[in-house]
């Protein structure tokens, strides 16, 4: 079966590429996939970086090129655009549900902005309790904070607001 080479099919293929560090999320779920367009014979895909230093971005770009090339698109280019600035508010609802099922508490609303920190409750993805505490705002990847649940005593990751 050959793929029909249209912008819509290119979007569908690119949209299935997953985050290498959180493989339950596609780049579409993450809100990283911003644009797919045909330019003459080429496909130009625009991605928005998540965290400035996130090493997964290069991998996502490479995976988009590989996926589209495998489906017959001969000339694929990936552009990264910083604007509009990526935010976790672009994460899809299904992405949030997949994250929670995977054991990562999904991002919440924008935290209060004063210099003296105020902690908001984050729901434990394992037992659902709100009796949780932040261990560190920095975790195993740029986008995650490290929490522990005071009810079920399990540690868990929280995809923090960006």
């Amino acid at each position: 079966m050959t793929t029909v080479l249209t912008p819509a099919s290119a979007w569908r293929i690119a949209a299935e590429v997953v985050d290498p560090e959180i493989p339950v999320l596609t780049i579409e779920d993450l809100g990283v996939l911003r644009d797919v367009r045909m330019q003459d014979e080429s496909v130009v895909v625009t991605l928005t970086p998540t965290y400035s230093g996130c090493p997964a971005m290069d991998q996502m770009g490479d995976d988009v090129i590989l996926a589209l090339t495998a489906e017959g698109f001969a000339d694929v280019r990936v552009d990264f655009s910083l604007t509009p600035t990526w935010t976790t508010e672009w994460m899809s609802e299904s992405g949030r549900q997949k994250l929670e099922q995977y054991g990562i508490a999904p991002p919440g609303p924008k935290p209060a902005s004063g210099p003296i920190p105020v902690q908001l409750g984050v729901k434990c993805p394992r037992c659902g309790s709100l009796r949780t505490r932040s261990v560190s705002q920095f975790g195993s990847t740029s986008c995650k904070a490290h929490y522990e649940c005071l009810a079920c005593l399990e540690p868990f990751d929280h995809f923090k607001f960006h």
Partner: protein, 271 residues
């Protein structure tokens, strides 16, 4: 192994150039000079913070300081890349092949890691400064600088939160931890003033906030934190540091030597 037998390598210029230039943004000479100043701040601090990985007081701090370094490196890459569009250089050329007098970072960022208290005190001052700077720069008339600032400020907010929480914890901890953060703040405070000095660049370049306009909001935040920690504001004289014009303390040279040696020994090396 002799140099001849080392594997041949190529620079992935295409990947490096994909960011920002793809949007057609080319920096002006003034934008480039400004981007180098604040980009070098982040680059030098990122290089310094990397030292803590495996050496911090607890595993969570290895991760925290490493993640902060990674964010700062990302900001530096974006800013140096943008500066490079005016200068005809890649971000790697700017990071690895400029000499000490060509770096534009302020002295605060090259101050040694010291003990954990010194790293936290330095982090409190740098993050309070960068937070106000990027907040204002996000409104810049320069789309290149505004885009980078809007992204960076979200990450610096977490850096500031980290430094504030540790400042409060050390100040409210044991006599030992309190005396260490007090001493660290006294030793770090003299380097604040340099961040707020206007110079000839700001006379002609109005797409960035004047350093002098950042003094009040930054000091307000620092005073709030000191009050919460029940610490006195250090009464110190001002450093004569002038990193924005390439005049550095003795600390920068060794930092650069370590950061640049691999790239200079193996030009164009890539992973």
């Amino acid at each position: 192994m002799s140099a001849e037998t080392e594997p041949s390598v190529t620079v992935t210029d295409v990947e490096l150039d994909a960011e920002l230039t793809s949007t057609g943004l080319v920096a002006s000479a003034d934008e480039a000079e400004y981007a180098l100043r604040i980009g070098d701040d982040s680059l030098i601090l990122a290089q310094q913070l990397g030292w803590w990985i495996s050496r911090a007081p607890e595993l969570e701090e290895d991760l925290a300081l490493g993640n902060i370094a990674l964010d700062l490196l990302g900001h530096a890459r974006n800013l140096l890349h943008f500066a490079g569009t005016a200068l005809g250089k890649t971000e790697d050329e700017l990071a690895y092949f400029r000499d000490e007098h060509e770096f534009r970072s302020a002295w605060l960022f090259e101050q040694p890691n010291g003990d954990f208290g010194h790293t936290i005190a330095r982090g409190l001052l740098t993050s309070a400064f960068q937070f106000e700077l990027y907040t204002q720069l996000a409104e810049s008339s320069s789309p290149g600088l505004a885009g980078i600032a809007a992204k960076s400020v979200k990450e610096v907010a977490y850096h500031r939160d980290h430094a504030v929480q540790w400042t409060l914890r050390l100040a409210g901890g044991t006599d030992e931890s309190r005396s260490r953060i007090e001493r660290a703040l006294i030793n770090t405070w003299p380097y604040l003033d340099e961040l707020f000095r206007d110079d000839e660049l700001h006379e002609r370049f109005d797409a960035a906030p004047r350093p002098s306009a950042l003094r009040e909001p930054v000091m307000n935040v620092l005073r709030q934190v000191l009050a919460e920690a029940e610490l006195d504001e250090p009464k110190t004289s001002e450093s004569s540091g002038d990193g924005r014009h390439g005049h550095h303390s003795t600390y920068l040279g060794p930092i650069l030597a370590e950061m640049q040696v691999l790239a200079r020994r193996h030009p164009d090396a890539s992973w």
